[in-house]
């Protein structure tokens, strides 16, 4: 290595003013230059930033895109989400493995390639998909996988794998990606024409409290799924004591099956950045941070350019719209592969340069969030709605939707349907109408809201998308009737086990135990009592976990035990001889033989 580790780390740290709150960026840059973050590099980062060494080590071990051991120059992260598995993950994986001569999780001897898996990368409508370094490759097949490896062996540059760009801004020179938007239904709010600067001008003509009132009048609620009233959140933050307040845009879209924020950021980032500035004006904040999930790093140069142009046009920076009364600027913080960072307080921790563990509440972020400062965290879609409300007035916005839930909702639809993609529907649209739109022909089940949401059976397809009924961040996964519900649920539990932060006991241990028993049942060794065991265990995890992850991770188990019980009942049986079905005699004998180092006497007698 030409440069010493210490020298590289020093340069990287100094380029971030040795600021320990910028550890996410420091670790990423260190890894980019050195390939991995070794113990020596970790020591040096702790030295230059003044952070405790254990905090640096925790951060590196916490985010799945960071590594403390050497990996290939090209890292292939194949998405193993349920939808990708349905779309041919196994064949693609086998092709990568045979072409590279390694197994999943390994690195080739020449150090050229690492093959690993990753959770949903926000490409479910074009699955199977993978990230090759930062480049998304979509609609994979076994042939495509083999071709990709052959090409990479020639030039080693994943960005050269893009031979055809997707639609819209996916073809923008700064994006240059094969990703497609698949906007199947463009509604009147998010995907309407943007008149840059109009919303901000109108906001600045009002007082900050009038802006908050407009958002309240529009009855805007958070689009991330929880549905907290946006105007009320801003009001709390405005009232919180302190001169420095921060606006966050949560673009850590990690709920499996969700990809609508990717499309918003690709096609109308101006709407989102305008929404952040308006929030800043309303709350009394001069700083904004957009937390972009690491999987969407390929959008970073494009988004930085949009910010730069907004600064040049007086829509961001010291004197917005030429008024020296309001200054606001935005930086983008990149994540590094951790679903939990979509939880708002974990997101704030991550921005502070720490592992993404949720904070204790109260205090709430609007009182004490990022660095102890009043912080507002809004979803990408929520902020895009804000811009629309300021452009056309709250009355126009609340014309859409129902009397209880105003506006539209973006849905990310994937799975067994003809037209997967993004749909902007009016709040109050029924699941049945949605299925008609996307060509979901007589499905057996629809998972609404991703794994943390609910599995809906056909007799409930008349339920509607809104906060009072099916409240969702927007993920809709459609499953044909022949798909195995328990196997889908097992895959969801695997996701939660991988993504739990591990801070609290019920989520850290309980999800592992739920999957263990579920797999027993799927493997034909389940007993009728196991169903009440799962219900009791699931209820304990849901009721006692510390944050939204553990409070919702048992949902797949609990909601399918309620709505799809026959699928489980068909698998569990009472042994006619009274034996415990969960006890596998031959497995137990094999284990004992391994310990004893010889075949069992019983087996020898049987042979003779």
């Amino acid at each position: 290595m030409a440069e010493s580790i210490g020298q590289v780390v020093r340069e990287v740290c100094e380029s971030h003013a040795c600021d320990p709150t910028r550890l996410m960026d420091i670790v990423r840059e260190t890894q980019r230059r050195l390939g991995h973050v070794s113990d020596e590099a970790t020591d040096a980062i702790a030295h230059w930033t003044g952070a405790a060494r254990v905090n640096v080590a925790h951060l590196i071990s916490f985010y799945s895109f960071y590594t403390d051991s050497p990996q290939g120059r090209v890292v292939i992260r194949l998405c193993d989400d349920v939808i990708d598995r349905m779309a041919g993950y196994d064949k693609v994986r086998a092709a990568f493995e045979s072409e590279l001569g390694i197994k999943m999780g390994q690195t080739t001897d020449d150090g050229a390639f690492t093959l690993t898996h990753t959770a949903c990368i926000g490409m479910s409508d074009q699955a199977p998909a993978a990230l090759i370094n930062q480049t998304p490759v979509t609609r994979l097949s076994a042939d495509a996988a083999r071709r990709i490896i052959r090409e990479l062996r020639e030039h080693g540059d994943p960005t050269k794998l893009v031979h055809h760009c997707g639609d819209g801004n996916n073809a923008h020179p700064l994006v240059h990606s094969m990703v497609e938007n698949n906007i199947r239904l463009a509604g009147p709010v998010i995907f309407s024409r943007v008149n840059r600067g109009e919303a901000i001008s109108k906001a600045l003509a009002l007082s900050p409290t009038e802006v908050i009132r407009a958002v309240k009048t529009a009855r805007l609620r958070g689009r991330g799924g929880a549905g907290f009233p946006t105007g009320l959140k801003w009001e709390f933050a405005r009232a919180a004591p302190g001169d420095r307040k921060i606006i966050f845009c949560n673009a850590d879209e990690g709920e499996p099956g969700t990809f609508k924020d990717r499309v918003i950021l690709t096609e109308c980032p101006d709407r989102v950045f305008a929404g952040m500035a308006i929030a800043g004006y309303a709350v009394g904040a001069n700083e904004g941070i957009l937390y972009l999930r690491g999987e969407y790093e390929y959008l970073l140069p494009f988004l930085e350019d949009v910010l730069e142009r907004r600064r040049a046009d007086g829509l961001l920076g010291q004197q917005i719209r030429g008024r020296n009364t309001f200054a606001f600027d935005i930086r983008i913080q990149l994540g590094a592969g951790a679903y939990i960072c979509g939880e708002e307080t974990a997101l704030l921790r991550s921005c502070e340069g720490l592992a993404g563990e949720p904070m204790t509440r109260p205090p709430f972020p609007v009182q004490k969030g990022y660095l102890g400062l009043p912080s507002v965290v809004n979803n990408v879609e929520t902020l895009a709605c804000v811009t629309k409300i300021l452009e056309e007035g709250p009355a126009t916005f609340s014309e859409f939707g129902t009397s209880a839930t105003s506006g539209t909702k973006l849905l990310s639809i994937a799975g067994d349907c003809m037209r997967p993609g993004v749909y902007e529907v009016s709040m109050g649209t029924s699941l049945r109408q949605v299925l008609d739109l996307c060509g979901g022909d007589q499905p057996g089940a629809v998972q609404v809201g991703g794994p943390s949401g609910k599995m809906i059976a056909p007799n409930e397809f008349d339920r509607v998308i809104c906060y009072d009924d099916l409240s969702t961040g927007g993920s809709l996964m459609i499953f044909d009737a022949e798909r195995s519900i328990p196997e889908i649920v097992s895959a969801f539990m695997e996701f939660f086990i991988e993504e739990s932060c591990g801070y609290c006991a019920p989520c850290r241990v309980g999800n592992v135990l739920l999957k263990e028993r579920l797999d027993q049942i799927i493997g034909g060794r389940g007993e009728p009592d196991d169903l009440s065991y799962l219900e009791q265990l699931g209820t304990t995890v849901r009721s006692t976990s510390r944050c939204g992850l553990g409070q919702s991770s048992p949902n797949p188990v609990l909601s399918t035990l309620e709505n799809f019980r026959p699928a489980y009942e068909a698998l569990v049986k009472t042994d006619p001889d009274g034996f415990k079905r969960s006890f596998d005699l031959s497995e137990a004998v094999k284990l004992a033989e391994g310990i004893a180092g010889r075949p069992s006497v019983h087996a020898q007698e049987g042979d003779s």
């Binding site: 020591d43 702790a46 405790a52 060494r53 254990v54 905090n55 080590a57 925790h58 071990s61 916490f62 799945s64 951790a338 592992a355 204790t360 509440r361 109260p362 086990i497 991988e498 993504e499 739990s500 932060c501 591990g502 801070y503 609290c504 006991a505 019920p506 850290r508 241990v509 309980g510 592992v512 135990l513 263990e516 065991y533 009791q536 265990l537 209820t539 304990t540 009721s543 006692t544 976990s545 510390r546």
Partner: protein, 243 residues
Amino acid sequence: MTDVIFTIDAQEIRSPADRTILEAAQENGIYIPRLCHKDGLEPYGGCRLCTVTINGRPTSACTQPVAEGITVENDTEQIRSWRKGIIEMLFVEGNHFCMFCEKSGDCELQALAYRFGISAPRYPYLWPVREVDASHPDVLIDHNRCILCSRCVRTSRDIDGKQAFGFVGRGSDRRLVVNPGSRLADTTLDVTDQAVDACPVGAILRKQHAYRTPVGQRTYDAGPIGAQIETPVDLTIDQGGLP
């Protein structure tokens, strides 16, 4: 500061407004089970054993401030069932063999299992492979028994001023590590540090101290955990044996 009035299991509680539910309960003779909480340390909310319901919503009593007029439930059948489940999870997550453990009788996890009448966990053992760090001349870490409560982490950081411990990993890979270095001997931990005594289980032990207090004279031989808080002392517990 004016007091607030609220109820715990229908009993009226008057408490200064700056207390947590757990503190207010304790000052009024009500024991709320806990493992990661230790008086004098910053509330952590990690073990979730102190889960209560406030106006029907579950939350951790160690982190939740008191408030006027709230209805807290602490000792209901449902909450006992959750807590029992968490204790069992902690047992199967690590490798706990009470009969071989020198902390037996002084161990809070074991004492809680007795208090909740747990004779064997309902959940399967996960049998993790964990290490013992005996590098330090006076102090030993047996990771098999660690329940990741963070009491040593917080005590070392906030009371001893050393930050000799921390965590790495995510989810079920989370584990206690020392700071800096890889072995306890690399740290500045001293046997007189309060962090050594912060461990509720047998994960951090003083060397050369085992069995100085004979069985029969240990902390929880005299009465169940929580008895020192409760008035009157409740002795009607269901005592089972541990595996």
